[in-house]
């Protein structure tokens, strides 16, 4: 098991903790927080995959993911606040 596989295993552990919080979360806001953090963790996954494979592709995926996760979190927050999406 080399260093990069250890990094991937640690990130999988962190993501499963996030998923555990999203599963438990007593309120909807807890689930929104967990999903938001999962989105940021995925960018970290993309960074590790970039080093592991040496390919440019994964960094582009990380770029797109960071922006899409942001829009998703904002939509969830707006929905929690009880406002319509086209406000």
């Amino acid at each position: 098991m080399n260093a990069l596989e250890l990094l991937m295993a640690g990130l999988c552990l962190a993501s499963s903790l996030c998923l555990w919080r999203a599963w438990l979360g007593p309120t909807a806001a807890d689930r929104a927080v967990a999903v938001d953090l999962l989105g940021i963790l995925m960018v970290g996954f993309c960074a590790v995959l970039t080093v592991q494979t040496g390919r440019d592709l994964y960094m582009v995926v990380g770029l797109a993911w960071s922006l899409v996760a942001f829009v998703g979190s904002l939509a969830l927050a707006k929905h929690l606040e009880g406002r319509r999406f086209d406000d």
Partner: protein, 131 residues
């Protein structure tokens, strides 16, 4: 004689290991802390810094080429978007009435809302006007 390629790999791996440590601590905080505001506090800051360090590992490993600049751009995006999303979620949680943990001692945001007339503000939100 120092082998610079290996030194660079080592530096990148050390950075990424620190990033992983921050990510793990943030997620443990997300699971263990008592209410949504504490979880947001622990999770967002730790995971953002952890992702910074992972991406800086990419920059150190590959240098400032096409990949390094993309990683730096990614750092900038995460730095801009993650605090904004956390702020929006915290505000939405407070306005949708998620209670603070029983051990909390202070709620400045509610005091502020009461001083300005909390009920009016709440109605304004439901009519879709920005306060």
């Amino acid at each position: 004689m120092i082998d610079f390629a290996e030194t660079r790999d080592l530096a990148a791996y050390v950075l990424m290991a620190f990033g992983l440590a921050f990510d793990l601590v943030g997620c443990i905080g997300l699971v263990r802390l008592p209410d949504v505001y504490n979880r947001l506090q622990a999770g967002t800051k730790c995971v953002t810094l952890g992702t910074f360090l992972l991406l800086l590992g990419v920059v150190v490993r590959f240098g400032l080429g096409a990949m390094g600049w993309k990683a730096l751009l990614c750092v900038w995006f995460v730095a801009m978007t993650s605090p904004t999303a956390a702020h929006a979620i915290a505000r939405a949680a407070h306005r949708s009435g998620v209670p603070l943990a029983p051990v909390s001692v202070l709620d400045r945001y509610r005091e502020d809302g009461d001083a300005r007339g909390g009920a009016e503000e709440h109605d304004a939100v439901h009519q879709g006007a920005m306060p």
